[in-house]
């Protein structure tokens, strides 16, 4: 009798469904994106170092143009962070609903 019960229980060991796999895959890529973001930001902010300035004889960039570029970069970083934050929260909420899944915090 007990062996019959065991037989019934056997198929249950956790095997993540395709949906969960995809979700955790998304989550990891999202984490990758979050890790890459500062490098993107650093690269964008290092770019002004290549611009010609008044010491080289070339026509220097105007300050307003420089301001536009830097504030645009800044804004882009913020926007990406917002998107990332929202996505992260949504994924976290979905995973909280599913106790089997790894927690988002990891």
């Amino acid at each position: 009798m007990s062996s019959a019960g065991d037989g019934k229980d056997r198929p249950s060991p956790v095997r993540p469904s395709l949906f969960l796999e995809r979700q955790s895959y998304r989550r990891r890529r999202l984490a990758d994106a979050a890790r890459l973001l500062p490098f993107l930001g650093a690269a964008m902010l290092a770019l002004p170092l290549l611009w010609p300035d008044d010491s080289e004889g070339a026509e220097p960039l105007t300050l307003s143009a420089a301001m536009f570029y830097i504030f645009a970069c800044w804004g882009a970083l913020i926007l990406i962070s917002v998107v990332f934050g929202i996505a992260a929260r949504r994924l976290a909420a979905r995973e909280n609903a599913d106790p089997e899944a790894e927690t988002w915090q990891r």
Partner: protein, 893 residues
């Protein structure tokens, strides 16, 4: 209109407002309400204490001097926030799981709870904080001076005003920062007040910016044209400074004690970082949005030589917009006060937890936790340290002359505090980082920072000009602002580059060369892999803790009523019966420690409970000690076991020896009785016949002869018996000396057979295989012969066959010479076979009158000769086997 008096009144009113906001927030939080108090928005706004008066005033000044360079100070933190997934998340998680109270606590905790390290970080933080506080003093003083110039009453003196500002800020910080003892619990009141100040300063700056762009310049388009036309209107940055400042501000953003306080210690929920990751950069962006327009308009409107650091104030003033100027002043004042409050809170916590409390605990050795009012000590320590820190800032301001540009003073502080970065980052990500590494790295960076930046920056002449120009002792390569002879680098870039790179190198090298203590390794693993196990490292075992002592101590620290409430709640939780003291379970002790650590810091709380619980806290070191002890005990017990085994072995041997002795004694008794019996038989007949001969008259000569013969025979028998006994005793005592000689077995047998058969009336046939007897022997031939004679005469005596025949054969078996004597009689009955070699053992009736010693003597002789004589059962008749080792034969060859 905007007189100094009005200004002071406005300031005081603002401070009162802040106090009431803080008070209200605390009340709301205490009642468990105010969900918004724990919202990500408040968290983000509290982070903006990063923007101090330096930012508020200095950014515009910086922009007026060097264009867009000011923006680097904001870009660094933006990058850090954007990369929260990398670093801040881990930092916050560690801060929460390890119950960290300050950055010094974090560093010391990571490196094996080393207080030395905590002291170093504290000193560094105080020294790094000093210029920063000087900066706040300067900004407030300058802003006052602006209003003073416009004030017709003109009662303003700079020197005294700096002092009063410093004193006022100190009082403010003491009142605000040490209102309650808890350093670890969330300060909802203070955080809310700071959030309000953040809103005020952002609002003020935006208001000035909007006024400048739309009120003065006449819209966005004209503003941009004006920017491009101004003297800073062309893109120009120094590449070294640009990257260095971005890096430096990023480093300082993490390392600054006040940033750590709001970011990690005051963090309520890790997920707030997710919001702050974009909201705080947005705040920074808004703060810097109008900096360049204000600078450009200021440069344009104000007369040559006016201080660009104060454009935020002077531009509205010059346009006659006093209310806006007042708002702007409040913004700057907010920036300064919020920075000073949080810095004072953070630094005083560090100073009291890592400098004062350890010293105080040491002086109160043993009884510290239950005597003296800890609350007053801690509060006093905090208040005094705030006063000292403010005084240091004041003196730095006086020493540096107050003339340097605001931004550069801020950068000096940044460079100083950034020296923590290698130890911090290494501690978070590298398990190999050690305490020694952290100490060495910090010291190197700290020294270089003082030598190359802090001291040369003081105009009071602490470092003589000759040293700055030619180096100490004339060594040019040690010039403070041109280390290793590399000149022409910007002093900030120079310091940051050398100090941080050498700091990092020293940290890494010393870490690799040193070996961490067990506690360090454990903490290292807990920090680096914090996401794998966020559990606290230590635990208490409270079996010996005294609840009453704990209660007394807790009352001293938390106050009577909170302590009683805490204990009641705990008792209720434990057994549902309030009114009794709770059992000191490990969980309770841990909760209590957490509660106390909120007041006096984790390390001190740990030490205090440790004193009461009697060091029963289970740390790794304790565990190791226990393990050592048990190893020693194991060793000891195994030694004991060995000894007891040895003892039982000895006892067994003694028992055996005793049994043997008893047996021997019994044998001796038996032997004596046998001997006396054996002696008695012939003596009886000798006595009887000699009495007959003496007493009987008229004995015939024939009779006399016969009796005398009997007496003679018996005397002979006695002699023989005594000879045998003597022989046996000599043999048994081992005192016999062997008379070694050489002959063949055949010779020995010949002699034995002839002497055994001589004079015997009973004939026995002897059959021999002479071919096998040609074995040379090296032995005592007489003794061997004696054995053979004995065996042959035994056969002759006891063989009961009609025609007795004795077969003697010799073999070489397994390296031994074996001689068998087998007769054709009935043999010895099995039950007697084991006895034949015993003394006085006789089989059957004593026909031949032997004493029963013959075979015993044979056995003894053969043992002396290195061989043996045994009985061979199952050969048809009595069979004896004499074996001699072949070695005797080989020795003979």
């Amino acid at each position: 209109m905007a007189t100094l008096n009005v200004l002071i009144l406005v300031c005081l009113g603002y401070v009162v407002l802040l106090f009431s906001v803080a008070f209200a927030a605390d009340r709301v939080a205490a009642r468990g309400g105010g969900k918004w108090l724990r919202s990500p928005l408040i968290y983000t706004l509290s982070l903006s204490i990063y923007c101090t008066a330096w930012t508020f005033y200095g950014a515009v000044g910086n922009a007026a001097r060097s264009g867009l360079e000011f923006v680097t100070i904001y870009l660094g933190p933006t990058l850090v926030m954007v990369s929260w997934w990398w670093g801040l998340r881990k930092l916050v998680r560690i801060g929460r799981s390890q119950r960290v109270t300050s950055i010094a606590d974090l560093i010391s905790s990571r490196y094996g709870k080393s207080n030395t390290l905590a002291v170093c970080v504290t000193i560094l933080a105080v020294l790094g904080g000093t210029p920063y506080i000087a900066l706040q003093l300067q900004s407030i003083t300058l802003s006052f001076s602006i209003f003073a110039e416009a004030d017709p009453t003109g009662l303003y003196r700079e020197g005294s005003s700096v002092f009063w500002v410093a004193a006022g800020l100190a009082v403010f910080a003491i009142l605000f920062g040490t209102r309650n003892l808890d350093a670890n619990e969330r300060h909802h009141g203070v955080v809310t007040a700071i959030a309000l100040e953040s809103v005020v300063k952002l609002f003020a700056l935006l208001a000035v910016g909007i006024f400048v762009v739309w009120g003065v310049a006449g819209g966005l388009g004209p503003m941009l044209d004006q920017i491009d036309a101004s003297e800073i209107g062309q893109w120009h940055v120094d590449a070294g400074r640009w990257t260095t400042f971005i890096f430096l501000s990023a480093a300082a953003f993490v390392c600054l004690p006040r940033m750590f306080q709001v970011m990690v210690v005051e963090n309520d929920d890790e997920s707030h970082l997710r919001t702050a990751a974009w909201a705080f950069p947005l705040y920074l962006l808004l703060m810097s949005l109008f900096v360049v327009p204000i600078a450009v308009v200021g440069l344009d409107l104000l007369p040559e030589g006016s201080n660009p650091d104060l454009f935020v104030l002077t531009v509205p003033l010059s346009q006659g917009n006093d209310w806006l100027a007042m708002l702007s002043f409040i913004g700057g004042f907010s920036s300064a006060t919020s920075m000073v409050i949080v810095t004072a809170m953070a630094l005083s916590t560090m100073v009291s937890n890592h400098l004062v409390m350890p010293i105080w605990l040491n002086t109160q050795e043993g009884t510290a936790s239950v005597s003296g009012d800890v609350r007053t000590i801690v509060l006093m320590a905090r208040r005094v340290s705030i006063a000292v820190i403010m005084a240091l800032g004041y003196f730095y301001y006086r020493l540096s002359g107050g003339g340097a540009a605001l931004a550069s003073i801020g950068l000096v502080a940044f460079a100083g505090i950034s020296q923590i970065l290698p130890a911090l980052v290494g501690g978070l990500f590298w398990r190999g980082a050690t305490r020694t590494g952290a100490l060495v790295g910090l010291s190197v960076g700290f020294f270089l920072w003082i030598y190359t930046l802090l001291l040369p920056g003081m105009e009071g002449g602490i470092i003589p000009a000759s040293v700055i120009e030619h180096g100490p002792f004339g060594w040019g390569w040690l010039r403070p602002q041109a280390l290793f002879g590399i000149e022409g680098i910007d002093p900030m870039v120079h310091t940051v580059m050398w100090s941080l790179s050498l700091n990092t190198i020293a940290f890494c090298v010393a870490s690799m060369l040193s070996f961490p203590s067990p506690l360090e390794r454990l903490q290292g693993a807990q920090f680096v892999n914090v996401f794998d196990h966020s559990v606290s490292a230590r635990g208490w075992t409270g079996s010996v803790a005294q609840s009453e002592d704990l209660m007394i101590m807790t009352q001293r620290i938390l106050g009577t009523i909170p302590a009683q409430e805490f204990f009641q709640a705990e008792a209720e939780r434990q057994n549902g019966r309030p009114g009794r003291l709770p059992e000191p379970t490990p969980q309770f002790l841990e909760r209590l420690e957490r509660e106390l650590s909120g007041s006096v810091g984790a390390a001190t709380a740990h030490a205090m409970i440790g004193q009461i619980v009697g060091g029963a806290s289970v740390s790794v070191e304790d565990l190791l000690a226990v393990a050592d002890e048990s190893a020693q005990m194991l060793e000891y017990s195994s030694q004991l076991e060995a000894k007891s085994a040895e003892l039982s072995r000895t006892a067994r041997q003694l028992r055996e020896a005793n049994a043997k002795l008893t047996q021997v004694s019994m044998q001796k008794d038996a032997f004596l009785s046998q001997v006396s019996h054996e002696l008695r038989t012939p003596m009886t007949s000798i006595r009887a016949f000699s009495e007959i001969m003496r007493d009987t008259e008229g004995l015939s000569a024939e009779e006399q002869t016969r009796y005398a013969a009997i007496i003679h025979d018996e005397a002979l028998r006695l002699t023989r018996l005594l000879d045998d006994l003597l022989d046996l005793s000599v043999l048994e005592s081992g005192q016999v000396s062997l008379n070694m000689g050489e002959a063949t077995l055949s010779d020995v047998l010949n002699r034995a057979v002839s002497s055994a058969l001589a004079g015997s009336d009973r004939k026995i046939g002897v059959r021999r295989v002479r071919a096998s007897e040609r074995i040379p022997l090296h032995t005592d031939l007489d003794r061997l012969g004696q054995v053979f004679i004995n065996l042959i005469s035994n056969a002759q005596k006891y063989c009961d066959a009609v025609e007795p025949v004795l077969t003697i054969s010799a073999h070489d078996v397994g390296g031994q010479v074996v001689i068998d004597f087998i007769d054709n009689g009935d043999g010895i009955p099995p039950e007697a076979q084991s006895l034949v070699f015993e003394k006085f053992a006789r089989v059957g009736p004593d026909k031949a009158g032997g004493a029963g010693l013959g075979l015993a003597i044979c056995r003894e002789i053969m043992q002396r000769l290195g061989g043996e004589v045994t009985y061979l059962p199952g050969q048809g008749g009595a069979a004896f086997r004499v074996s001699l080792p072949l070695a005797y034969r080989q020795a003979a060859q």
